[in-house]
Subunit: 318 residues, 4 copies
């Protein structure tokens, strides 16, 4: 993969490319289904579509609704995993695996076969275990606060917050996640209580951010764990690479293989319609559009990413 300097010197105009990609994805705008399990997600305007790219040098490019905040949902798993791994180290892997799951996002079947050890940190059950480990003996509120501070520092915006209405609706509608948490607890694989773990989990899913903020916040993953703007080491190089590899093999539920096949970048989808992608050594991308395909990934967002990669040649596979 050519580095960005070379690309730009040869005339690549990222803003123009993003605008072309927006047009490419136009036909998919408004298609697909909104996540309907909680009212707040079902009320989002389905025609929204935004794309943002963040680069090493601090520049960011954006088109469409890239500055509009949306519910990041399970994109939060990436940041929670970064923090939890930093806290607990590789001991985390005693409680959650790192193999692709081959079953839909909420599958409790896998959990039964594996005696309560979720298959990876990017299925719901795995993210519940990560939430639990992130508490690390503190109160759930402190764990949530740590995550918020991290997101604010990474994106350079102190106003990032939880949408409390969404968090309450998540909790009210959360029978499946409660079932997962109790099931994990039945196998003694929660350090804290079911309510504590879920208290973190439901709130981290309810954080609201824009494409531009998310791309900015994840930049450390493209640069071996170091935030290229602040110079701060957020994760070790090994950790950063491994989070990327987990995104590639497990980041999109039952869409993961398709995403790797079509986009070829580490990424993470959320059912709020956001997709975060990492271009190692170059930067980060975030696309958002609320309409989902059958496997819970943004329809227009996925198409936009595919086209962006096509137009830029950004892929880790050559």
């Amino acid at each position: 993969m050519a580095d960005l300097g070379t690309m730009e010197r040869s005339g690549m105009d990222l803003q123009a490319i993003l605008e072309a990609v927006l047009r490419d994805a136009e036909n998919y705008r408004g298609h697909g289904n909104l996540a309907g399990y909680i009212p707040a997600l079902g009320r989002v305007d389905p025609t929204k579509l935004g794309i943002a790219v963040a680069l090493k040098d601090g520049r960011s490019f954006a088109v469409g609704d890239a500055d509009e905040p949306f519910s990041i949902q399970s994109i939060s798993y990436v940041f929670a995993l970064s923090l939890a791994l930093g806290r607990t180290g590789s001991a985390l892997w005693n409680h959650v695996g790192r193999e692709p799951s081959g079953t839909p996002l909420n599958s409790i079947v896998q959990l039964e076969n594996a005696h309560g050890k979720p298959r990876n940190p990017f299925v719901n059950s795995g993210a519940i275990v990560v939430s639990d480990r992130l508490i690390d003996g503190r109160s759930p509120d402190l764990a949530v606060e740590e995550l918020l501070q991290f997101l604010r520092a990474r994106s350079g915006d102190q106003s990032i917050a939880i949408d409390e209405e969404v968090a309450m609706e998540e909790s009210n509608a959360g029978h499946l996640n409660r079932a997962l948490a109790h099931f994990i607890a039945a196998f003694d694989n929660l350090e804290h209580g079911v309510d504590e773990a879920l208290s973190v989990y439901f709130r981290m899913c309810s954080v609201t951010m824009s494409c531009r903020q998310l791309a900015r916040a994840a930049l450390y993953l493209a640069f071996d764990g170091t935030d290229p703007l602040s110079g701060e080491s957020v994760a070790t190089p090994a950790l950063s690479r491994r989070i990327n590899s987990l995104m590639l093999t497990c980041g999109h539920y039952d869409n993961t293989g398709d995403f790797a096949f079509r986009v070829g970048l580490p990424g993470k989808s959320g059912i709020g319609g956001g997709i975060l992608a990492v271009v190692p050594g170059v930067g980060t991308i975030c696309a958002w559009s609320p309409g989902l395909n059958a496997n819970g990934t943004s329809l227009a967002g996925l198409h936009a990413l595919e086209k962006l990669v096509e137009r830029t040649g950004w892929t880790i596979f050559v």
Copy 2:
């Protein structure tokens, strides 16, 4: 990932690195279990260990038993897929999926849930479907001959051949694969007969090659589908990238996530103890040692690859 020229100018000595890696992996040599389901694989000397690297400019580096032929087993799936995709194009994806499987290599459960469509081309059932499509209306013998010619051309060695004893033993011991093939046929997902598809399948698994030959043969996958030595376009860039992405998400059965996590390169394991890995833009690696871990991947081979990546910085995730 720095390019090789830069690396070598800065003093990287690949031969010395490979020798260090051989010492790194010494403790794992002879550990693990041989694939015992056919006698020929069970008779291999378990202490064998070889590693080879092939580069763009035609140079190859090798240590240990890197020139000793072994049974490539499911590493053959990568080459068969390249040929079958070239023949049938994306219509192949109507017959086999591209999602990670989350179940052991032979699992028929997945196949039942998916009504006879294997989850990806790198589980046994998927490779049987690829074998069937590779026939493409010809005789099974012609399909096998095409694969052999391809391997000979790519590795530059006309003597590459099938070990007929292994092929016969595969066929004799092949109840599980016969079950898979009949099951697929029951759902009308074979174009030719069960015996035809298996005739290709059992023979492609029984090809014998050395580490150096395998690394050399796969070089097109590191250079966007073009063999850098002959300049021949073997696959389109898109196809080549996608085969890499499939290796990354599905290449090692229930070990795939672990391999991506620890090695971070597209790869494919065979239960003969070989592991092939692709370093996009740089070259290819093949390690071989017959002792397997619980998931059917070479124990010493995996360790060697992990150390080689550590010592070279070769990873697609930064």
Copy 3:
């Protein structure tokens, strides 16, 4: 349950009851789907409907198409099990279980979880194991001949035979059953070869008999293993009771609980549309109508049995 003498002395007229039941079931005649996986079964007149009852004293009562031969399909499992258990004794239970299966008739999933031991003798995989054990070191032809002689002796009709066209079609369409057999063989749970076991299996499914013949043939199961007409001991009392209990808990695929709930008698369905039921101490019933419900049991036949039990009070549960 009152005995028949008492019932008849109190005015029960079985012929009149059967005629009423035929009217009861009239609305279901021709409904449901024919088993379409082989042409011969798909060509049967869907409006056929017959019911026969056989009693201890040799009398039989019949209405509708009760004397028309049809393909007995998996009703044959009951007789094959009687013979195989007689031959091998309780050693058979090392190779096949006796628990209800909870999955559709052909499920290979259960077989994978149980490492090749079918869950009971009345799912297809279990009947293949019973077929294999029935061979007992002889030729498959001798095993089939023994079964035919048994059916002829029990029903008092020397002309009972295999429909060779059906047998050939079963074999041609038998990918699923071949998959099951190879899968069982992969776990070393066949005594003879896959082809030998299937040769018995496909032919026993293709025997042709009428309702009246089937009811007559099964009479030993209602009288503790002794054929009440010939006085011959066909099975030990313990064996006979246990075959009845297996019919009750496993006799109708995923319809078993429903059958026990609505009919309350040991029974066995075949996808040719026949249903055999045993009234312990009283006699046997066979109903036949080719249209099947979603779980592969005769729609009109099941309704007829339910009504017959209602009108006679024949049930084992009071």
Copy 4:
């Protein structure tokens, strides 16, 4: 099956038979494992063994520890089902199935495949649904009170009560059952809340009764729904027969087929070590011994029932 009068006139002495059965089962006394998931069940003396028989005329026979109260656990499901079916009629079957499950007692896998509809009322998930329907718009306390009154009336003992220590321990250790309840609720298959349904469920499992009381209480199931002592109609004949059929096809988790095969009577096991069995037209049996086999059924209790049936000829299959 000969009626009891005939049997006794021909010299059958039930008390002597029970004493012989107690000796038969002596070798199994104290074997097997106690249910250890809650402390109270783990503290029971493992050498306890009791058997009681209740007859139509009010006589009861008992040996060993037949008058010692124990935790009835899921034997309670039978009585709860009788009451819930009486309240809601066949609408109950919209919420719980009636097919054998083929998976262990707590399996959540089945529940996922069936979209939250438990397979039958005698697996834990099904009993939770029955508990929920038993509430029927009232308070959970009233539902529990109704069940207690029913058990007191049926067994003629006003002192029957819940062991509150067991109920609290059940609730504390109930992660698996909470997971099941939330999972059912996620599919909108609970009428009341998770906590309400479980409040009934945990308490009904914690009722304490003796063998003699349980046999007495279930007598209506042997006489077509009418309590033969009080003459009271407790269930319709159809309902009573159907509960018997459900006990036969689903009463012992993954032991059900084995129980039908060896005992041949409708029955229900509890992991407190109790087993209830119904002899239609004759009476009821209850055996108790706390040591369990691998599938959660009393080891000595099962053996005792098998021997009792052998010595009396009580079976529904002839």
